[in-house]
Structures are given as C-alpha cells and as structure tokens.
C-alpha cells in the first residue's frame, strides 16, 4: 500500500479550498466586529459618553437650614436644634454589628427595641449606608461617644439639624409643625428637596403658610458614585439658599400667658392690636406637642389627639365656628343707631310674643329689665330690646352690618384652614333650604343665635373694629426674610361716629357699671379698664317644660350640653389699643363668667407688660394707620360713680 495515494491530493485540495473559505468567513466576522465598534464608538460615541457620565455622576441634594420663626421682639419661637446622633456603618464594624451595638450600649443608654430597629435597618440597607443608632443625644452622651470612638469601629458621631419648638404646645396652633413629606405632597410639588430622605415640610400654621419661604432652595453636591451608589469623591458643590426667617406680630410672652391661662379648658382666645390688626396672641386649647410630629407621631398619641372631646388638633381660634350669642348685639346696636333707633326705648317684661311663639329674655324670672335704652340694652344684654332692634332692621340690614364688621367671611389671617363663619340672609336661606325667611328667625339671629356663626378671630376683629371704627383686619406675619409684608391701610367703617360712641359706651357699662353682665370681672387697675360684651351660645334648645319647671343649672348638665361662653373686649377703655375675644366651649356660668375672668387676666397682663409700648424687633408697617380713635369716655370709674 503506497504511503501517499491520489486521494491525499484531492483531500488536501479540499482542505485548502475550505480553509481559505473559512479564512474568508473569519475575515467577515472580524469586519462585523470592527463595524460594530465603529457603530458604537464613532457613530453613537457621544450618546454613550453622556450615558456613562449619567451613570457616574450623582447629584446629592443638600438640605438648606429651615428659616426660623420669631415673635415681635425677636424671640425664637421655632428654630433648628443641633441633633447629636450616632450612626453605625455595617461594613466598618469589624467586630460585627451586634457587638458594635452592645459596645455603644455600654457608653450610652440603648434599649432592646432600639437595637432591634437598628439591626432591621442595617439589614435593609447597603453595607456602607450609615444607619442612625441614637438621636437627640445630650452633649455629655455625645462627648462620651467621641471619647470612646477608637474602640467603636464603624461608629460615626454626626450632627444634623432638627426642627425645634421651644414652647411646644403653647404655640402649636400659630406655628403649626413640620413632618415628613406625604406621597400626595410629593406628587404636587416639584421642588427637588421634597424627595430628600428625612425632609420635613410645614403641615399646619405658619410653618405651612410660609413653607416655601422657610424651606429655602436646595443645594447640591455633585459626586462620583460607583454602581452600588457609594460616593467615590465630590466633584463640585452648590450650598443652596437657606430658608428665610419669618417675624410674627405675636408677643411670645402674652401668647404663653394666654395659653397657660386657658389650659385645662377647651377654649380659644385671640388678642390683637386694635389699631392695626397685629395678632398678639392666638391660643386654642388644648394643644399638642409639635415635636411629636417632627419625629413621627405614635399610634397611641395619634388616637388620643384624634378622639379627644376637646379636639386638640383643631385650631378653634380660626376654624372653630360658634353662635356668637349676645356678643352679636354690639353689631346690631351699631346698625340700630344709624337706622334711627338711637333713642329707642323698649319695655322689657321678660318675654315677647311673635305670632304663636314666645321669645324670652334672660331676665324673664324677675319680670324683665323694665325700660331699656340702647346702651343699657348692651349693658344688661337685654334680649327683648334686641328682638325689637332686629325686627325693625330686618335680616338683610343686619347681615350688611355684620359683614361690614368682619363677620361672615374669612378674615384673611395668614394661617391655613380658616373658616368664614356664617351671616344668614334671605337669599342664603332660600338657596340653602329652599324655603323663605321667617320673621322669627330674624329675632333669633338678632341675638346671635340661630344660623349665625363666627370664629374667635372674627369676634376679635369685631372688637377691634368697634374700638377703632376702622376696618382693621388681623395679620400675623410682619416680615419674611428681609421683606416687610404689605398690608393695606384700614379704611373707615360705614357707621357714624355717634353709633360707635354709643356702642362703646354700652360695652364700657357692661363691664364697669354695676348690673353689667361682666361687672364682676372688671379690671380694677386705673387706666387698664376694659370694655366688652359677654355672650352665651346655646348648644341645645330650652323646652317649654324646662321654662316652667325651672332651668337645670349649667353645671349639672353633661359637659357637651353646656352653653359656650363668649366675650369680646377692648382695652384700655379711654384709648383702646388691645382687642380680645374668648370662646370657652361648654363653659357657661352666668354667675362667675369665667371667660370674662380670662379676658381680664390676659388684658391686664398685656397692659402691665406694655406689649404695644415696647420697641419691636422690626420696623412698623403702616405707622400712619396706627392712629388711635378719639376717646369717647373719661374712663371706667365714671360709670361706678354715676351709679348705673
């Protein structure tokens, strides 16, 4: 057998031919690879470069410090406290995280619950993410941690900022509070800060109203990150713009005094500068601790807040609507004078019949008030007199006067959630109920019952307008950042000076003249005397049987069925500077008039302290508007001497 036969030749030829073909195929594949490189690197290179940069560079938002809130004298009402905390980084805890926590526990107090939470958080995060172990440490605890740091691998001491309200519940209804951003808020606000972890935004009060200004503009830090999000290095930094400070017209001390005085009650109180509407105190009790919401309110805390009969979450001063009761008579009296009833005298027998219905006066048991003039009608709060006034005015004129005095629509105070109350008209009733107005309703509404509703801040506005004769409106924010807030000058009200003078005299008599409804709680200190008008708002109907058998004393009724007690006031009597309103929910007591005592104490405190005489931390707005009206009386002592 030959070593090499012919077949070798043919198969070698085949091999060579096919090898060359495969060589060609390989060349083709190389061409494809080269072509693909061209496509990716040359044709689309720029696009991929951008994508690589997007991969690499991360914008880290930096939270600017939130603006502070000051009172009129520059006292901090809301600020940012240093939050000393301890963080733990899992990958740096060389002895293991459980051991690290135990070691930290030897230096500062750590509960098992805290440890468990930290372990869970560590498990949920990447190994290089610092997880807070303990927050709000004292300086001493923080120092101890720093001292032991060499023996605490993976532990990072850290100072962050947290919102703090030094006066806690006492100011919560003015300041509001900050809390975590909700899903809904995130969707409706494109501020990049909103998505920052740990971001807090204003949820109520001033914090909400001026949230945008207080928040500031986010800073950013451009960092290079790896695929796991770990920061490799910082490439650039924009510090952002800190939030703007807000100065309020509030007097922090007066606010605290008012809130403490009302504590234990379900009540609201507003004190303002009668000449310009600067709100000096706005209290709604009970309150709650705004710091709870900052750290996250717990289940039991929330249940307590949400279910309490005293409604601590409600700012009653702006969102509580109450029948104004007899305080409404001041507005009726003002309209009466200008509608020719300045010398109207009504003979009060204790009740009056209209159609088949009998309307009673408070004095029905003693046979009525007898001959009652306008000022005396205010002094003794004679219902019969004002039934007659209401009957003569008619509902629409009544509504006109009430609206002019600031009732029936929101005052525009810079607080979210303000309600407008209600001043009924014929048109309103037809629209609301589809039935025509009844004359009996005119009478009932004339003494501030029926449909009429007002908020404490509206009542305070009413008091200020009665005191000054000008359309002052409440205002709270004086200066935001460097900018003074602009407020229009208060225009004169469409009532005659004579009307104001008579109503003020009546209100002066109600407090300072014997027989006046608030006489027992008048201010005795010379020069500080107040004028005012009490009111009672029934929350239940008094039946005929009760009239016959004698009324159940208020103190024996269940709390929720007792009358609301109201009071509007201004002081000093001669030259009104302060206006105030108080609503004491279910606090009715015709003998002691506790709401008047509150007003007495608060207005005495304000005048003793001389809130409005002190230099403010900011320049005044509309200084020209702050002209006090001409004195109408010579002081409260006159009434006593005259022997009313």
């Amino acid at each position: 057998m030959p070593l090499f036969d012919k077949k070798d030749k043919s198969r070698y030829a085949t091999f060579s031919r096919r090898s060359l073909a495969m060589g060609g195929g390989m060349a083709l594949v190389f061409a494809v690879l080269g072509g693909r490189l061209y496509q990716l690197q040359i044709r689309d290179g720029e696009e991929y470069k951008t994508e690589a940069e997007d991969n690499r560079i991360n914008e880290r938002l930096l939270a600017p410090p939130r603006g502070r809130i000051f009172d009129r004298f520059g006292v901090e009402l809301a600020n940012n406290r240093r939050n000393y905390r301890v963080l733990l980084v899992a990958e740096q805890a060389t002895d293991g995280v459980a051991e690290a926590l135990d070691t930290i526990g030897e230096v500062i107090q750590l509960t098992d619950v805290q440890k468990k939470r930290v372990m869970t958080e560590l498990a949920q995060n990447k190994k290089f993410v610092p997880v807070p172990v303990a927050e709000n440490l004292t300086w001493e605890e923080f120092s101890r941690i720093n001292l032991h740091l060499p023996y605490l691998p993976g532990v990072q001491p850290d100072v962050s900022e947290t919102r703090d309200y030094p006066y806690g519940p006492e100011m919560v209804h003015v300041l509001g509070y900050v809390a975590s951003v909700s899903e809904q808020e995130l969707a409706h606000d494109d501020d990049p800060l909103m998505s920052l972890p740990g971001m807090r935004i204003g949820k109520r009060g001033i914090e909400k109203e001026f949230d945008k200004q207080l928040r500031g503009r986010a800073g950013a830090s451009r960092v290079e990150v790896n695929a796991y999000g770990r920061v490799i290095r910082e490439l650039g930094k924009d510090p952002g713009v800190p939030g703007q400070d807000v100065w309020l017209s509030l007097d922090g001390e007066l606010q605290r005094f008012a809130d403490q005085r009302l504590s234990g009650e379900s009540a609201a109180c507003v004190v303002m500068d009668a000449t310009n509407g600067d709100v000096l105190a706005l209290s709604s009790t009970p309150g709650f601790d705004p710091n709870w919401f900052n750290v996250g309110v717990t289940g039991p805390q929330w249940r307590e807040l949400a279910t309490s009969e005293y409604k601590p979450l409600l700012n009653k001063a702006i969102a509580g609507t109450y029948p104004p009761g007899s305080t409404f008579k001041t507005a009726m009296a003002l309209a009466a004078v200008d509608n020719g009833m300045d010398d109207l005298v009504v003979d009060c027998t204790g009740s009056i019949r209209l159609g088949d219905h009998t309307f009673y006066c408070d004095a029905w048991r003693i046979g009525g008030h007898g001959h009652v003039s306008l000022t005396r009608g205010i002094q003794v709060s004679c219902d019969i007199y004002f039934y007659e006034v209401a009957r003569r005015l008619g509902i629409d004129k009544m509504a006109e006067a009430a609206n002019a005095l600031g009732l029936g629509s929101p005052t525009g105070i810079e607080l979210p959630g303000e309600l407008g109350g209600l001043i009924p008209t014929r048109a309103w009733k037809m629209k609301r109920f589809g039935v025509p107005w009844q004359q009996g309703e005119t009478l009932v509404n004339g003494i501030g019952q029926g449909y009429v509703l007002a908020t404490p801040i509206q009542l305070c506005t009413l008091a200020a307008r009665l005191a000054t004769g000008k359309a002052v409106s409440p205002r709270l924010a004086h200066q935001v950042g460097g900018a003074l807030q602009s407020h229009p000058l208060a225009a004169p009200l469409p009532f005659s000076d004579k009307a104001f003078a008579m109503v003020r005299e009546g209100m002066g008599m109600a407090v300072n003249a014997p027989g006046g409804t608030a006489y027992g709680s008048r201010i005795l200190q010379p020069g500080f005397e107040m004028a005012g008008k009490t009111g009672t708002a029934q929350v239940r109907r008094i039946t005929r049987e009760e009239r016959q058998s004698g009324l159940t004393p208020q103190s024996q009724l269940p709390w929720a069925q007792r009358e609301h007690a109201l009071f509007i006031a201004f002081a000093p009597l001669d030259n009104p500077r302060y206006a105030a309103s108080i609503v004491l929910e279910h606090g009715g007591n015709a003998h002691t008039e506790p709401q008047v005592q509150f007003a007495r104490d608060i207005l005495t405190f304000a005048q003793t302290r001389d809130t409005l005489g002190k230099q403010t931390a900011y320049p005044p707005i509309n200084a020209a508007a702050a002209v006090p009206p001409t004195p109408t009386t010579n002081g409260g002592q006159k009434f006593a001497k005259a022997g009313y």
Partner: protein
C-alpha cells in the same frame, strides 16, 4: 517540490533546531496580546496588581512554558496522545458533574490540588486532537460515510452533552463548532451539510421549547430587547454597550475607564474585559487588538496550509478556529450582537484554565509549524 518519502524525512529534530524553528513572530504577537490583557486586568482592579493582573501574569508564564514544551514535542507524539487526552478530558468532564463544586449556579470546576480545572476548556483542545487523529486517515469519500460520520458525531456529541448539562451553553457551542468545522475541512460532503443546516434551522424552536434552561432563555430574551429590563438582566448588555461606546475614537485613557472602575460593568475581569479595553483605548485601540487577533489567526491558517499531513493540518486549523470562535462569540456577545453566553476573550480575560489551554493550543500550532516537514502515512497512529 517533490514530496520527500516518509522514510527520508527527518524523524527527529534537535531541541535547539526546534526552538530556532519556532515561529517567534507568532509568539511575539501572542505575548503582546496577553500583556495587553494583563494591563487591562491591572486597570479594572483600579490600578492594582491584585487580585487579577499578577495572578494572570503567572498563569501566562506557566502557559508560555507549556506552549514552548508543546511546540518542541513531535507532532506525531501528539497524534499518539490524541485519544488518551480525549479519554482523560471526557473522564474529568464526567467528574465535574459528579464531584464538581457549585459556582455561579453551574457545575464547571474540578479541584486538582490547588488548581481549579475546567474540564470543558480541556475538552476543546482534546476534541480537536482526537478528531484530527480520527480524520487523518479518512479520504473525502470516507469522511462522508455514515459510519465514520457517525463516529465523529459521537466524539463531538458526547462531550457536548456533558458540557451542556453542566450547564455551559457557550462552551458547548464552541465544542460543536470546532468539531463540525473539522468535519467540514476534512471534506464532508455537501449532501450532508445542506440537509443538516436545514434540520438545525427547524430544530431551534424545539430547542427553545424543551432544551434551554430558564436562565438561558432569559439571556436570549434580554439580548433581543435589553432596554426592556435595563436594571435587571439587561443590565450587562446595556452597561457593556455604554462602556464600549463611551470610549469613542481614542478612549478615556489607561486607568480612566469609569464604567469598569466604578463597577458598572459586570464580570469586568472575565467575560467583559473587552469592553474595558474598548472604553480605555477607544476605537483605535480596539481595532488594533482586532488586527493582532486577525494576524494570529492568519498565522494559524498559514501554518495549517503549509503542513504536510492531514493530522497536522486539521490540528492546526482546529486550534486556530477554536481561538477564533472564542473571539467571535465573546466579541459578538459583549457588543450586543448575540445573547450573553459565558465565553471569555482568549488571552485577555482573567482565568487560569482558559489561559493554559489557549497557550497549549498555540503550543500544538507551533509544534505543527516546527514539524511542518513531517509527513505521516494515512494509516499511521503516530509515534510515542
């Protein structure tokens, strides 16, 4: 040139002659490529010799020695060792399925002392040896005879089966391509080729339905639409394309590849080393590397064509094609032209077994070159 009769041919060459006769141009090319690979491993480690570059350098040195030794051994000795090598590789392959330990969800390694051995890598070279040995004596007509073809297909099919159940789709693909290519080069008739190709085309849907693992199907689906799942399974392809593309014309520079340094590239030291190279050295660098690869292959084809025995021709062409298939599958894969299958870039990717077997393959190629004058009778079984 008249054919020298076998008896006249120099049976053996002296060691010095052999070393002088080694194709040192080819060795230089291989060394340049491997050095570039080590440099890339240094770069993807953030400019450190550890953990990959130094280890790869030692593997390359070891591989270099294996290559030189293999080159100096007579091609007929390799012919004699072809079947035992195949048998041993097959045995080891079976062993991984039994005793191999689990890594990346697939059984691919066997511990041989301190060495992690991938029998599937050994199998590629062993199969080339064994098939070259088997086809050496077969004429064009004999190759196409059902019996011979059947034996050859079994030789390809059995190891392919063991590799595919590991499961290692990429290596299976290369083993099958290596084997079929050798059959084709040996002169397999078109009467077999054309129906077989048609059958494969019809079999693909069936394989999809019954054979492929879920993760393999996921890879195919991801490949077909990587952007649909850019953060999940499509991450690899998307990030690899960004790395390559962002290199642009001249690249970001050595050690400046952000995609690999910041860990956006998966398996950057192994299967995706090519993307790092493209990122740091750009179109210019990548094309230069392709030219180096192509030149190596050109040398391989040239050596095959000039060899004087069918065994040597098939062996050298098989080794060259094996090298080429690595480049093709890896290159097409990382550049997003075919689905992701786990195949390293030869000489560049980190990995001991692949480096050693590739270098051993070049040793065989050089042995063919050194012994290119050796003629082997059709019915010879080689010498030992």
């Amino acid at each position: 040139m008249a054919l020298r009769p076998y008896a006249v041919a120099k049976r053996t060459l002296g060691m010095a002659d052999k070393l002088l006769d080694v194709n040192w141009g080819l060795v230089l090319l291989i060394s340049i490529i491997a050095s570039a690979g080590i440099a890339m491993l240094y770069s993807v480690a953030g400019g450190h010799w550890n953990p990959w570059a130094l280890s790869q350098l030692s593997k390359f040195v070891l591989g270099f020695l294996i290559m030189v030794v293999a080159a100096s051994i007579d091609v007929r000795v390799w012919m004699s060792l072809a079947y035992p090598a195949y048998g041993l590789a097959l045995l080891l392959l079976v062993a991984v399925d039994v005793a191999g330990h689990v890594g990346l969800g697939a059984q691919r390694w066997i511990m041989l002392g301190p060495l992690e051995l991938q029998p599937s890598e050994l199998m590629k070279i062993s199969l080339v040896l064994a098939l070259a040995r088997f086809l050496h004596g077969k004429s064009v007509e004999e190759v196409s005879k059902p019996l011979n073809l059947g034996i050859a297909l079994v030789m390809i099919g059995v190891p392919a089966l063991f590799v595919v159940i590991e499961p290692n789709l990429g290596t299976t693909l290369i083993i099958v391509m290596d084997g079929i290519s050798l059959l084709f080069l040996a002169g397999l008739s078109w009467y077999w080729i054309i129906p077989a190709v048609s059958a494969i085309v019809t079999a693909i849907p069936l394989a999809w339905r019954f054979v492929l693992h879920d993760y393999q199907k996921a890879r195919v689906m991801t490949f077909l639409n990587p952007e649909a799942d850019a953060l999940g399974a499509g991450w690899n392809i998307t990030q690899a394309k960004i790395a390559i593309g962002s290199g642009g014309l001249s690249g970001k520079g050595f050690l400046q590849g952000t995609q690999s340094r910041l860990n956006f590239l998966p398996e950057k030291q192994t299967d995706f080393i090519w993307t790092s190279l493209c990122e740091e050295f750009g179109f210019v660098g990548a094309v230069a590397m392709l030219v180096l690869f192509a030149t190596v292959i050109f040398y391989g084809v040239q050596i095959a064509m000039s060899a004087r025995s069918q065994f040597a021709r098939l062996l050298s062409m098989g080794v060259t094609l094996n090298f080429f298939f690595y480049i093709m599958v890896n290159g097409l894969m990382v550049m997003g032209l075919i689905p992701v299958v786990g195949i390293p870039m030869p000489l560049l990717s980190y990995g001991g077994t692949a480096m050693l077997t590739v270098m051993f393959g070049f040793g065989l190629l050089l042995s063919v070159h050194v012994h290119r004058q050796v003629e082997i009778p059709r019915h010879s079984g080689g010498i030992i």
